[in-house]
Structure formats: structure tokens, C-alpha cells
Amino acid sequence: MSEADAAAALLWLSLTAYAVLAGADFGGGVWDIFASGPRRRAQRQAVARAMGPVWEANHVWLIFMITGLFTVFPIAFGSLGLALYVPMTIALIGIVLRGAAFAFRAHGRDAVGPLSPWGIVFGGSSVVAPFFLGTAAAAVASGAIRITGGSVVSGFGAGWSTPFAVVVGLLAVALCAYLAAAYLMVETEDDPALQSDFRRRAVIASAVSGVLALLGLWLAYTQTPRVWSDLTGNGLVLLLLALINGPIALWGVWRLHPRVTRIAVAAQVTLVLWAWAVGQWPYLVPPDLTISDAAAPAATVGAWLAVIAVGMLLVIPSLGVLFRVFKARNPAA
């Protein structure tokens, strides 16, 4: 494995961290819109309580990935910026509005309620952002982005508006909702009624994502042969693990083992992302840009890896403190 491969793997790890952590924050927004029943208010409060201290730190994984991408793979960054201009701009607007709306609600006391315009923006943008990020991912995976001589030749619509991409976008939203519901089952362990609300939601999200995942695989098989051959080639083992892990997660939800569920659902998202990554290796933006083609000069990659090593030494213990203070709640204590 070259240094560029290592850098690509690190970026993929940060994408994974973003998906399993910030994904749940988007999912929280989904359950904010779909808050219903007698405990509607308590559901929204649980979402806000869970997100409050951590969402900004979770969000940084994205920034980290973006800055890493343009440092280590500047050509890929430039090309993706052009090819995915439309979905990324929309996702970006969603991210901005979601964050701002959450902060306004969280710190604005009672002035900004869930039914005020910002309250609705919070839920709506929590759906829009992961959907378009999902379609952008599908565009990359399907090999629709063509690059010749360092410039994008496939235009601004390529890849992200196909039926496959739409299904992947919806799957992204459903997985976010699934993550959120699973985590919230842990967060609400001391309130069985509320917990059963989120358990029901996790079952629904699990069913919806299962159906969408199978539909996506079928579309991959019929319409985007590239994705199919990647997933059933190098990515096969991880894909099979994902197919086995899915029912385990659902079992955890069903039998009310929130902590098993939390791990299994996060693992599900991780497996899907890594099946994709391993499947398309050694390409960064298939079919024209490999990891080594896109890599910055060795001096930059080396310096970046050094910065990451030092940075992570500071960040990981700090994240540990953050999650220990806010997430390691022991309901028995």
C-alpha cells in the first residue's frame, strides 16, 4: 500500500465517521419532522438533547474530509467540484440551514419552536442534505464522471440524477433515520415509553432501508454494471457481511437490545461504505482517475500524514472526553 492509498483510507475513515456520527444527527432531524403521538414533545427533546453537545464535532469530520481531499487529491477535488456542482451545492445549502436552524432552536429558548419556520427548516434540511450527498456518492460509484486530460467532460448532470442515484439518496436518508432511532433507543433507556417510540421507528427505518438497499442492488445489476461488478468483485466479502449484519441489527431492535443495535447499525453503514471503497479500489473517481493518478506530490502526502498523526493525537482523546461526558450515561447510576 502506498502513502496515497493510506491517505485515501484515512479519508474514507473520516467519511465513515461522518456517516455514522453526523448521519445520526441528520436522522434526528428526520424524527423531528415525524414526531407524533402523545410523546411528540418528548421525542423532539430527546433528539435535541442527544445532538446538542456533539453535532458540531460530528460535522467537523466532513470539513476534515474536504480539506484532506483537496490537499492530497487536488485533481479529484477540482473534478468533483465541477461534476457534482449541483447536488453538492444543494446538499451544502441543506447542511447550512440544518446547522443554523438547530442552533437557533437549541439556544433560542422558547422563541423558536418546532413549528416555527426554523423548526420546519431543521427537519426539511435534515432530509435534503443526506439525500443529495447520497446521489453524489452514487454518481461517483457508478463511474459516470468522465475526466479526460485533467478536465471533466461528462457535464453537470452526469450520474446523480439516475434512478440508481435517487435510490441511493433515499437509502442514505433511511440509514440516517435508522442510525438516529437506534442511538436514541440507548439515550432513552430510562424512559421505556419513549424508548419504545424509537424502537418502533427503528423497525420502520430498518425495513425501509432494507427494501431500498435491495432495490439499489437490483438497479446496480440492471443499470450500473460498474457498481455491480465492484460490489461483487473486491467488495464481495464486505457486501456479504452487510447482508448478514442487517438481520442481526433488526434482531437487536426487535428484542430491545439497544446497545447491540447501536453497534450493529453503525456497522451496517460502515460495511456499505467500505464495500463501495474496496470495490472500486484502486480508483478514486472511476473509471478515469485512480488514487495514484490523483495524488499530490509525495512531499505533500507525507506532510499531510504527519499533520494527521499529530492532529489525531490531540483530537481523539478530546473526542473521548466529549463522548464520555455526554454519551456514557449509565442508566443504573
Partner: protein, 427 residues
């Protein structure tokens, strides 16, 4: 991009300065066991929660826009200057983590622990600003690579990060961030006092804001002077535009104010101080200063914008310095916070004035570099995206920013009123 930056920079500087004020207030509160100082820190923390979130999302927009709007710039320079951005990512990470602890930890952490979580917020805020401005200073004085047949070669990201402009520019930006934060905070409490709320709470808010502002404005003057002298050597076209000097001159005069006229090739209605410019730039009354005429017409920045921004920055900066001096003189003489309405009005005005001063300074460095995005290497037009619908996207982001700014101000006012109606912070 310009709008996003102009918007983001305000939050960014408050993100640098306010945590330091917060941590100081909390520190004094702990040390003296004084609830007023604690309350100050606590109220700032909830206001800052909103400010930081808006700053964080507008910063996200910037990191995406680098790719979405400037694919040509990034594809070229990412490998050279991406490193400080990645380092900034870590600083931002730490800031977000510890801010989460700080904002939500008031009741979960012991007081001293809580105070400790505030320190990394302040430190990483400062580090972020340094890293980001490193990248900007590279755009002014690009180093750390060679161009061989238009392609990058011998890339050295460390020497790019520590390019010649880095020391002057990053420090000037950092102290300016403290200037803005200090004056903005002071303005809030001066406004409160004008409305008849002259309690210890307001006095301390004002004093702490002005303490930071006073120290920082002096440093901003020194570093700014340094920065201008550096520009004289490194970016003569920018320097000529700042001073609106059209013809290369020995013993150049210093021009204050005036309206540059490109068509007549001279500065109209300016106050002229003989030899002033040569003395300031090179400590030599007869030093030669290159004028705009020594650059081809397509390599000159917009003189009107750059000169007027520069004079705005210097003029307001000096005004702010004098105001800070007057304020502390009055405090020293009467041993109490001035309640003179005129002084308070000036302090209120100094808040927005400090923001304008900083924006003007940013205009100088950005417009002064035009038509280049990377000075002497890539033109701005060559780096921009070819994507359609830019006007629409620009409009959409502007509308979003206006909505955000509007809500933000409304909420901050509301928070302030809420706090006044229920003076004791909830336990």
C-alpha cells in the same frame, strides 16, 4: 465566495476573541468567587453557542466553495497549500469538541474543570485563524513550489505554509480579531448603559471588552504598519494601489483620503504629506516607491477600492485607538466606568466601526491582489468555475445569509431580554 467570506469573517473573528473573554470572565469569577463575573461568562456562552454554529456552517460553505467555485485554483494549489487547511480542520475539531463540553457542561463538570474546557476553545480559535490566514498569505506571496512548463514541481508544503507573508499577515489578522471582539462586546454593554442599565454586570462587560480592545488595537497598529512595509517590498502593485500612487516616485508623499482617478492617472482631493510615504515604507525620505504606471494595465488592482479601503482601515483604526485611550484615561482619572453619554455613544459606534475596519483591511488584501488569485501565478478568471447558474446560486446564498443574520440578531436581542427578565441564571 466574496459574500460568504465577508459574512464568515465576522463570525470567525468573534469565534477567536469571545472565547478568550468568556474564559477570562469565568476565571475571574472563580478566583474571586464572584457571581457577576460567572453570570457574564454564562450569558456569553449561550450567545456564543448560536454565533459559533452560524460561523461553523458558513465556514463549511467556504470549504465547499473552494471546490465548487474555484476548481481551477484548487486543482492547481491544493497540494501546495492544502496543509494549513487540514491543520485548520483539526483546530476547528478541537474548538467544536471543547465548545460542546463548555456549552453543555455547566452543570455536568466541576467549576474548575469547566473553566479548563474553555481554554482550548480560545486557543484553537486563535490557531484556526492563523492556519487559514497562512493559506491567504500564500496567495499573496506564493512559495514552496516550482513551475516547470506550467506544471507543479518540487512541491514543499511546509515552505508554502511558512511563506514570507505568513508572519506579518497571520499576526495582524489575529490581533484584529481581538480588536473586533473587544469593541463589539464593549458596544453591547455601552448600549445597555445608555438605556439606563448601569449595574456591575454591564460595567464589567464593558471593562473586559475594552481591556481586550485596548491591548489589541495597539498591537494591530504595530503589526499593520509592519504588514504595509512588507507589502511595499513583496507586492509593489498592491502597495501602489493602497497609497494610490500612480507614478513611480523618489521621495514619495503620503496621501491621505482623496479619490483616485484612473482616467487622469492621479489622486484627486487628497491631503499630501511630503516624503511621508517614502519615510514610512523604507525609513528613507528619498526612497523610491513604485507607482501603478510601472505595471501593465492588466496587472493593476482596482485603485479606487484598494486605496479607499486602506484609508478607511487606517483612519478608523486610529480613531478606535484614540477612543480606547480616552476610555482608559477616564477610567484612570475617575476610578470608575465613564457614564458620559457621548463617550458611551462613541463606544456603541465603535462596535460596528471595528467590524468595518476589519472588512476594509480584508478588502485591501483581497482586492489589492487582483487580478491574481495567486499573486503573479494564476489569474482569478482562470481559476473560476465554468458551471452555469452561478448567479442563481450566489443569490440563494446571499438570501440565506441575510435570513441567518436577521434571525441571529433577533435571537441575541431576545436572549438578552430573557436574561434581564430572569436575572438569576438557572442552576
Amino acid at each position: 465566495m466574496g459574500t460568504s467570506l465577508g459574512f464568515h469573517i465576522v463570525f470567525a473573528v468573534l469565534g477567536v476573541g469571545v472565547p478568550l473573554l468568556m474564559a477570562t470572565a469565568e476565571g475571574i469569577g472563580l478566583w474571586r468567587r464572584d457571581p457577576t463575573w460567572m453570570m457574564l461568562a454564562r450569558r456569553w456562552s449561550s450567545a456564543f453557542g448560536i454565533l459559533f454554529a452560524v460561523g461553523a456552517v458558513s465556514g463549511t460553505v467556504l470549504s465547499f466553495e473552494l471546490g465548487l467555485l474555484w476548481p481551477g485554483f484548487m486543482a492547481f494549489s491544493g497540494s501546495v497549500i492544502g496543509l494549513p487547511f487540514s491543520a485548520e480542520g483539526f483546530a476547528f475539531f478541537l474548538e467544536a469538541i471543547f465548545l460542546g463540553l463548555y456549552l453543555y457542561g455547566w452543570d455536568r463538570l466541576r467549576p474548575f474543570q469547566h473553566w479548563l474546557t474553555g481554554l482550548p476553545v480560545a486557543a484553537s480559535g486563535a490557531a484556526s485563524s492563523i492556519f487559514v490566514v497562512m493559506a491567504n498569505s500564500w496567495m499573496n506571496t506564493p512559495t514552496g513550489f516550482k513551475l516547470v512548463d506550467g506544471r507543479l514541481a518540487s512541491v514543499d508544503p511546509l515552505s508554502a505554509a511558512f511563506n514570507p507573508s505568513t508572519p506579518t499577515e497571520t499576526i495582524h489578522m489575529l490581533v484584529s480579531a481581538y480588536v473586533v471582539s473587544g469593541f463589539v462586546v464593549a458596544a453591547v454593554y455601552a448600549a445597555g448603559m445608555l438605556r439606563g442599565r448601569g449595574d456591575a454586570f454591564h460595567h464589567r462587560g464593558l471593562l473586559l471588552g475594552m481591556a481586550m480592545a485596548a491591548v489589541a488595537i495597539v498591537l494591530a497598529g504595530i503589526t499593520g504598519d509592519n504588514s504595509a512595509r512588507f507589502t511595499y517590498g513583496a507586492q509593489p502593485a498592491k502597495f501602489a494601489a493602497m497609497e494610490a500612487l500612480y507614478a513611480t516616485t523618489r521621495g514619495a508623499p503620503l496621501h491621505i483620503g482623496g479619490i483616485p482617478s484612473d482616467s487622469q492617472g492621479r489622486l484627486l482631493y487628497a491631503i499630501e504629506i511630503p516624503y511621508g510615504l517614502s519615510i514610512l515604507a523604507a525609513f528613507d525620505p528619498n526612497a523610491e516607491v513604485r507607482g501603478l504606471d510601472s505595471f501593465p494595465a492588466d496587472q493593476r488592482p482596482n485603485t479606487v477600492v484598494v486605496h479607499l479601503s486602506f484609508d478607511t482601515m487606517v483612519g478608523l483604526g486610529i480613531g478606535l485607538g484614540l477612543l480606547a485611550a480616552l476610555f482608559w484615561f477616564l477610567v484612570w482619572r475617575s476610578r470608575r466606568v465613564p457614564s458620559n453619554r457621548l463617550v458611551l455613544w462613541c463606544l456603541v459606534a465603535a462596535g460596528p466601526a471595528a467590524v468595518i475596519t476589519m472588512e476594509a483591511g480584508w478588502f485591501v488584501t483581497e482586492f489589492g491582489r487582483q487580478p491574481w488569485i495567486v499573486y503573479g501565478i494564476i489569474r482569478t478568471t482562470a481559476a473560476a468555475t465554468s458551471a452555469p447558474g452561478l448567479g442563481f446560486v450566489f443569490g440563494a446564498f446571499t438570501a440565506i445569509y441575510i435570513a441567518l443574520a436577521f434571525t441571529l440578531v433577533r435571537l441575541l436581542l431576545l436572549l438578552a431580554r430573557h436574561d434581564r427578565e430572569r436575572p438569576e441564571p438557572k442552576a
